[in-house]
């Protein structure tokens, strides 16, 4: 069943291209909205970075289960033999891979356009991004499956997702902020712990409840 995610990956190429252009457009919007005031930009940079991740991730995740729906394969998912949580893990892995690619490129574009030197903080930043993205994708995948069958799903998905993700958002933005100010990671250890706790809770909740979503 875990082969699912390979399929998702191959499919996501069409999503990936659109997402990258979306992220690029976002960077332009940020630049125009805030103008080139370096100090102001530096102050809001962590927030902007995560805003870009969240917005592009939300667009990408919202589509995770739409392919099955559009191609009438929802029943195929329902009838798939074995444990339903394997489907969840597969979808989660697919979403993670997609988001990591987008985030890596957005990060590079940020460094380029906003002229910030990210190289020295890259290891810490990678950790924070990995933790944040895992929590984001874990809940996102679950909610995407839920909203795939609802009316106005494009609207409903972010409305459900954003408030639940407040802890992840706060944690990642605060940790990124500290990193960009060259503070040691130990200073934000409590945020990292919170992110780890959120990841564990979200993934476990996803695994346990996904069965109920794919029932019919």
């Amino acid at each position: 069943m875990a082969w699912k995610d390979l399929l998702v990956e191959r499919r996501s190429k069409e999503t990936l291209n659109a997402l990258l252009f979306f992220a690029l457009a976002l960077l332009f919007v940020f630049q125009f909205a805030l103008d080139a005031d370096r100090e102001r930009l530096a102050a809001v940079l962590p927030g902007l970075l995560w805003l870009a991740f969240i917005l592009s991730g939300m667009l990408g995740l919202g589509r995770v289960f739409l392919v099955e729906r559009e191609n009438d394969c929802w029943e195929g998912l329902l009838l798939a033999p074995g444990d339903k949580s394997a489907i969840y893990l597969g979808k989660l892995a697919g979403s993670l891979a997609l988001m990591f690619v987008v985030e890596a490129i957005v990060l590079a574009l940020f460094a380029l356009f906003f002229n910030v030197d990210l190289v020295p903080v890259l290891p810490g930043l990678t950790l924070v991004i990995a933790l944040g993205t895992l929590g984001f994708a874990a809940i996102g995948t679950l909610f995407a499956a839920m909203t795939a069958q609802a009316r106005a799903r494009e609207l409903l998905f972010p409305v459900l997702l954003l408030p639940v993700l407040v802890p992840v958002l706060l944690g990642t933005v605060k940790a990124t902020e500290a990193l960009l100010l060259r503070e040691p990671l130990a200073d934000v250890a409590h945020w990292l712990k919170l992110l780890v706790a959120a990841d564990v809770i979200y993934v476990v909740a996803g695994l346990l409840t996904f069965d109920f979503i794919l029932e019919g």
Binding site: M146, Q149, L160, L162, P163, T209
Partner: protein, 215 residues
């Protein structure tokens, strides 16, 4: 039974109002504004109680698959959202003369606001799924995830705010309460809890009638 509950709730609310306005003394520094507490604290308590009931009913529904459990979750979420709204409104009315502002991004205010939006989304999801059985299942999952999220929201928002500005200034004086004030508060707490039970019972009955009419 429900009617009796309703009268009990009305009676205790009346007693609570008399206690809050008549028996409890005027607070020295805040004046009469402080009496909003007799509304604010009970509504906040009922909101948390309601969302706790949503969690329990959601788990019960997923385990037993009885529509009754789903109706309880649905009704409780609705009442919870209303009381969260009331809590925020009453808090604002109290905050304006006391803190000089309707709203501030204090830790507690923020986490209650997040809670409010989260459960509004829960009600929205209910309305957006046509198949009632599916809506029940999905909402049960969301009810569980949202409840699990509450402590995370609480901690994150608390750290977010307290690392920068200690909330001691914004926290209402938790100094020892005079017994008259405490008694008025407790009576109101009981009254609003009764009101909550009454609302949920009434709403569950309505939901049952609705689904029977549609069936």
């Amino acid at each position: 039974m429900t009617t009796l509950l309703g009268w009990l709730a009305a009676l205790s609310l009346a007693v609570g109002a008399v206690m809050g306005f008549g028996v409890a003394p005027r607070e020295v520094t805040q004046g009469n504004v402080q009496r909003i507490m007799y509304l604010h604290v009970p509504t906040a308590w009922v909101a948390y109680l309601a969302f706790g009931v949503v969690l329990v009913a959601s788990i019960a529904y997923l385990v037993q698959r009885r529509p009754g459990a789903d109706r309880v979750a649905h009704a409780s979420a609705e009442v919870g959202v209303i009381f969260t709204g009331l809590t925020i409104a009453a808090g604002s009315i109290w905050g304006k003369p006391t803190w000089g502002t309707w709203w501030t991004w204090d830790a507690r205010l923020t986490s209650v606001a997040v809670l409010f939006v989260m459960y509004l989304g829960y009600l929205l999801l209910r309305g957006m799924i046509d198949d009632p059985e599916r809506a029940a299942r999905y909402c049960a999952v969301l009810g569980i995830v949202a409840a699990l999220d509450v402590p995370l929201v609480h901690f994150s928002v608390y750290w977010w705010r307290t690392l920068h500005q200690p909330p001691s200034v914004l926290k209402p004086g938790a100094a020892t309460m005079p017994p008259a004030i405490l008694a008025a508060l407790l009576v109101n707490l009981a009254a609003f809890t009764l009101l909550y039970v009454y609302f949920v019972a009434k709403r569950v009955r309505l939901l049952r009638a609705e689904s029977e009419a549609l069936a």
